[in-house]
Amino acid sequence: MRLPNFRDLSIEQDKIYNLPLTTNYLVTGPPGTGKTVIALYRASMYAKLKKKPILLALSKLLTSYTNGAARELSIAGSILTYHSWVFTTYRDKFKVNPPEIDRFMYDWSQMTPKLIMASTADNAKPCLLIDEGQDLPPDFYTAVSFMADQLTVFADENQRITSTQSTFADIRSRGNIKNEHKLTRNYRNSKEIAEVAAYFYAGLPTGKPDLPDRRGNLPVIKQTPNLDAAIEFITTFEKNNAHLQIGIFSKGHALQGLIQKKLAAVSTKNPVQAYQSGKDDMPNFDSPGIKLVQFQSAKGLEFDAVFIPEINQLQLDLESLDTKMMFYVLLSRAREHLFITYSGSDKPKLLNLFPEELVEWRK
């Protein structure tokens, strides 16, 4: 993850970045507006104040993704997953595991009163920052409003996955947060990539960020004779751009494994790393080179360049909103370069969803 310098921050980001450290805040905004970066910077400021920042992310992959930036800001140990922090905190205080109503679902009705009681005697409360705060349950906010010295929540209501998670109103009322600020503009993607991704957006209008101003190259849709030719194109790109972080997204283990095998057979400048959900091996997201990621793990990540190869192999319901949203998430992971490849002579139907004039068609 890249940390912007102060001249890169927009005026709306500047404001959030400069919010006083003595107040609780809810910061809302669609994907790509810079919430995670601001969360990291804010955590580093608390660390400089000799306070104890804890930045909670939803998954191990996302904590790993932010680790490099966290190291740069000297807060490497402060990024934890929600589950590990809740588990460790509860266990430290009460010497037993937190009660669960299901796997990875804590029983907050039991836990909250105990945590609140224990927090009254806590003299070293952390400054808690929560990324993707919409994905945590409302009762969690009731507890942390007592457990945290300061609370800053970054959330996007449009990305809420189930109704058991929190709305903005839940976060404000349960978390005792009176101040709310919005981020509205996309800063992650080039304008051309954001425009194409926006075609696939199927959520509420408020969930779509304003288009960025920064111009870039048109996304490329490339036809190749076969997968080997696509791999050759990807490795040429990697050689010429060995300084970039490159993501290759694929659906399912089989295609990911095949791509990995073919990449291993040809030379690349940097080692190729693969991530598979449920495994402990985490790619080093701060190093340049190719990272292989499956579709379902792509959320929250971003790369300088993204390749989505072999889309001719995808079996998709093109009418489904889920398909569209999945592609919105995948396409919007690319900062500067986006390549979609298919092999064979027949143009996959999925490509009909792409706006003809907003992409470069290559053979």
């Binding site: 310098n5 001249r7 927009s10 005026i11 104040l49 920064r214 050689k239 300084h243």
Partner: protein, 575 residues
């Protein structure tokens, strides 16, 4: 740097009336810190947060003490939640105020917080180097702490200048017409927004090259920078690739006295395109390549070289589009500037470019240096990480930028002089710039003369009177400060004599004009018991002395009007 008048833990006191303050918000302070100068609103090319600068485009409002609450409130009112005022204290001896319009507050009795401490504002035109900053005042511990916590890789650390000085702000309020007065100030011929951007980019190129060539002569790069706007050739001893001279000094250089070669032309074309390419708005490197190709159309390159360049551009395009894998350059073949251009287009980020191993590029130092200069031109000095601009080097570059920008405008002009006039604004006394009169009139006004402000600043323990009710004679120093040395030979002769008397360096250039085209023999001779270098020529030689007026004024400002040598000279050479 001088000690601030408001050192921490100091006994609460009123500031000296001689202090000058630039009042802004903490957001804009970051731009000041990274640029290492204070410019007009036109210097804010990236972000700008409303303060007094926008009221008088091209000028910098400089306040005298006391500062009233409404003044400091004004600069952060656009966002009271996150914005807070900061007061940059300047060394008044380094700000030449003689021709500057000034607005003095007049307060009613019940508003006079401190008798005779009325304060005011100058609408200064120019660029203020960071070396003139004496202190940066925050008005609370909280705001200082909030500011200090937010550090960035391109933001120089100025902790040693930070003070907490709530006592700087007086109760009461300034003159309500102040803003109207600032808005009414006529625009002056100051550097444009484009000038600021151009100098930022050129200094970016210079600094990144200098930081990379520590073993060479860093200073030479900076010296080059100072000559760029004048389009003069740099010193021939400068050890930069020769095409730098063509690119930055197209009117002053041609290799071996002949027409520029392809490397030089290509470099010039790249420089020209990068000066106007907005990298923040577009990251399309292929567009840069196309613009350079178009630029080259007007250069009259030989057709065979043009064809070769077209081939190179085509290859570059294929590398950028990943249609072909990049191979390291072969030594001693091709155009070095074309190689640099390709490296730059593939790695337009300074860290990534300069970390590219030599074995992977095949580029020699000259090629890499040229590529680095392109990156510097593209992003500008202010956006470069401090890694590429060590403090001493960056300070020097910033000072040079200020000097260069000063030469681009007429605000340093000596053809105007300060004459007090009645203000058109009710309730205030205004002193404005007027066309010069040959003999400055005696000024009798309730006015604090700028030249007095420029005298020795004395830390004040008690409030000082800010007005003088006296008849001020037109001193020789004042006349020298206001003279137009291109028109007034008498004053120029006096100035030259003064430079000689004071032994001031850098003020005078001597030109030896020899008769005919006879050989000139240089030798060492003994003159008045000193060994000196001498030129032996046939016939009479003439010596012409040129006065470096800006440098002279700089030194003159520091000179006390009571200096014995000045008085002696005035007696010897009455004007």
């Amino acid at each position: 740097m001088e000690n601030s008048l408001f050192a921490q833990n100091e006994v609460l006191r009123w500031p000296s009336a001689k202090s000058l303050f630039f009042v802004t918000n903490h957001y804009n302070l970051r731009e000041v810190l990274t640029s290492r100068f204070i410019g007009s609103v036109l210097s804010y090319d990236n972000k700008y947060y409303p303060d007094f600068l926008e009221l008088c485009s091209g000028r910098i409002p400089l306040f005298t003490s006391p500062l009233y609450q409404d003044v400091v409130d004004f600069v952060s009112q656009h966002d009271p939640e996150t914005s807070y005022p900061v007061v940059v204290e300047l060394n008044p001896r380094q700000i030449y105020l003689a021709h500057t319009p000034v607005f003095h507050y007049t307060l009613s009795e019940n508003e006079t917080a401190h008798e005779s401490a009325q304060g005011g504002c100058y609408a200064w035109a120019g660029v203020i180097p960071f070396s003139s900053v004496v202190a940066i005042h925050f008005l609370s511990d909280q705001s200082k702490s909030e500011f200090s916590l937010r550090s960035f890789s391109e933001l120089p650390n100025a902790d040693h200048l930070y003070r907490v000085s709530p006592q700087l702000v007086a109760t009461g309020h300034s003159e309500p017409n102040l803003k109207d007065w600032l808005a009414a100030q006529t625009p002056v011929d100051v550097p444009s927004a484009a000038d600021f951007v151009r100098m930022d980019r050129v200094s970016g190129a210079v600094v990144i090259c200098a930081s990379r060539t520590r073993d060479l002569r860093e200073r030479k790069y900076i010296e080059q920078l100072a000559t760029i706007p004048q389009q003069k050739s740099p010193s021939p001893s400068t050890r930069t690739p020769y095409w730098f001279q063509q690119g930055f000094y197209p009117k002053g250089f041609s290799r071996n006295g002949g027409s520029p070669d392809t490397n030089s032309i290509l470099f010039s074309a790249v420089v020209s395109v990068l000066h106007r390419f907005d990298w923040q708005a577009s990251r399309r490197t292929l567009d840069i390549l196309s613009l350079i190709e178009q630029e080259l159309d007007g250069w009259g390159i030989k057709s065979e070289e043009r064809a070769l360049l077209a081939e190179i551009f085509d290859r570059a395009r294929r590398y950028i589009r990943s249609e072909k894998a990049f191979e390291p350059f072969k030594p001693s073949t091709g155009y070095d500037v074309a190689k640099a251009l390709l490296l730059f287009l593939l790695r337009p980020d300074p860290h990534q470019l300069l970390a590219w191993p030599q074995e992977e590029t095949g580029a020699d130092n000259g090629v890499m240096l040229t590529a680095a200069s392109f990156v510097g031109l593209l992003v500008g000095r202010k956006s470069l990480s401090l890694e590429f601009r060590p403090e001493a080097l960056d300070m020097q570059a910033a000072e040079t930028v200020v000097q260069v920008l000063s030469t681009l405008s007429a605000y340093n002009t000596s053809s105007i002089s300060a004459v007090a006039t009645e203000s058109p604004v009710d309730g205030a006394v205004q002193h404005d710039s007027q066309p010069a009169t040959p003999e400055p009139e005696v000024v009798t006004e309730e006015v604090k003369m700028a030249s007095d402000i420029n005298q020795e600043p004395e830390p004040a323990i008690a409030p000082e009177p800010t007005t003088l009710k006296s008849k001020l004679p037109s001193s020789i120093k004042q006349r020298l400060l206001e003279a137009d040395y291109t028109q007034d030979d008498k004053l120029k002769a006096f100035a030259l004599a003064l430079c000689n008397e004071m032994g001031w360096r850098g003020c005078v250039t001597s030109l030896l004009v020899c008769p005919g085209d006879d050989d000139v023999i240089m030798s060492q001779v003994k003159l008045k018991n000193r060994k000196v270098m001498a030129f032996r020529i046939n016939g009479f030689a003439e010596v012409i002395y040129e006065l470096n007026a800006p440098r002279f004024i700089e030194l003159l400002i520091e000179l006390k009007p009571t200096d014995k040598r000045l008085i002696k000279l005035e007696k010897e050479r009455p004007l």
